[in-house]
Amino acid sequence: MDKRLSSLTEAVADIQDGATVMIGGFGGSGAPIELIHALIDRFLETGSPKGLTVINNNAGNGHVGIAAMIEQGMVKKMICSFPRSADPTVFTERYLAGEIELELVPQGTLAERIRAGGAGIPGFFTPTSVGTDLAEGKPVQQFDGRDYVMERWLKADHALIKAEQGDALGNLTYRMAARNFSPLMATAAEKVVVQVTKAVEPGEIDPEVIVTPGIFVDAIIEVANPAQEEELNRAGAHHP
């Protein structure tokens, strides 16, 4: 079994119209720019995939990555905690025009819902958002005299994430704060595709330091010297 793919095109080939896609990253750290741009390129060539629901902490910055997906009209809905950034224009304009839906989720609840999706936990209770607008319509239950909101798991058809090292079995490490949501998303999507900065052979990663065991990963594609979203934005990049 070898999970390594040979092209970015292949890596994003099976995402269908209307799919739910988790995309790793927090701001620019951990954003799988090359996978996202390969998906945009596919859309520009074929008109598909569109009508996507995208799950990420944010809603894009500038004109690359998720912002570029939104700009091209591929995204129907964002599920995120913080749709603001240094340059959130693309999302903001479409949101205010009613052209994109937003499900706003507190950040810790977003993380826990994704983890729950991956861990087979359909619902859990959290104190977060109790008594606020974001708890509206959700069951509230008291434990030990304190109110908690019940939240549901979050799953996706696909996850696109970025890792540092990945071996042929899909075992992954991450780089600093670029880890963020990616290990969770790797557990919660039907098909998990990872761009790794360095593809290695099984055994090259110390078993003690593997963050995402290969069982969660379907495919890896090596992208040496990947773009960093923050740096692209500081350089005023656009995709395409």
Binding site: A119, G120, L169, P202
Partner: protein, 227 residues
């Protein structure tokens, strides 16, 4: 009817259904034997509840490192690609549906797919381990077992009389006499030992064995007969 498969033969048969690259959890005890019989050219990746994925065979006696064990507390070894993780992540793999197959032992399996394998009743010390998690987690839950108890009682039954491990979870049973699927609340016979007649097999089975299409011959390597 004295002929029946050895445990090794049952384990061998179960191993034939495990695909290359499958993620597999083998219950402690007899099911661990399945790992020995991976077909040529296929390599399953074994998961153990206590936080190891992709481990290797048992070490030579005297070479054990007792911090590297499986859920049955037996020593295992590293392989290229082995990963360690904590118990919550381990059961996220189980409960989250990431395992392709779990192969477990059984006291009884019902035609509804119910499994009883953790307790034979209120006497003694109860112990459940990870069985209740596995039966509702793995994509496919199979059982390997002798066809009858030591006292000759059927283990494939209409309804379990022992406390349940899980409801409607088993989809295939590999016994010492047959391979039986659970389909829509019925046992469907897929394979049986050539030497045993349908009537003989039904006589030692506690629920109706249905036939849908061909019943294959259950033939296992002879050299495992005494293993």
């Amino acid at each position: 009817m004295t002929q029946k498969l050895s445990n090794a033969q049952i384990a061998w048969r179960a191993a034939q259904d495990i695909e290359d690259g499958a993620y597999v959890n083998l219950g402690i005890g007899f099911p661990e034997m399945v790992a020995r019989f991976q077909p040529e050219g296929r390599e399953a990746i074994f998961h153990t509840e206590n936080g190891v994925l992709g481990f290797g065979r048992a070490p030579e006696p005297g070479q054990e490192d007792w911090d590297l064990i499986n859920a049955g507390k037996k020593a295992i070894t590293l392989k290229p690609g082995t990963a360690f993780f904590h118990h919550a992540d381990s059961f996220a793999m189980v409960r989250g549906g990431h395992l392709d197959v779990a192969i477990l032992g059984a006291y009884q399996v019902a035609e509804t797919g119910d499994l009883a394998n953790w307790s034979t009743g209120p006497k003694g010390v109860p112990a459940v381990g990870g069985a209740m998690d596995l039966v509702h987690g793995a994509k496919r839950v199979a059982v390997i077992t002798d066809h009858v108890t030591k006292k000759g009682q059927p283990k494939l039954v209409e309804a379990c009389t022992f406390p349940l491990t899980g409801v409607g979870c088993v989809t295939r049973v590999y016994t010492s006499l047959a391979v039986v699927d659970v389909v829509d609340g019925r046992f469907v016979l897929r394979e049986k030992l050539p030497a045993i007649s349908m009537e003989e097999l039904q006589a030692v089975t506690g629920a109706t064995l249905h036939v849908e299409g061909e019943v294959g011959d259950l033939i296992c390597p002879e050299e495992l007969a005494d293993a």
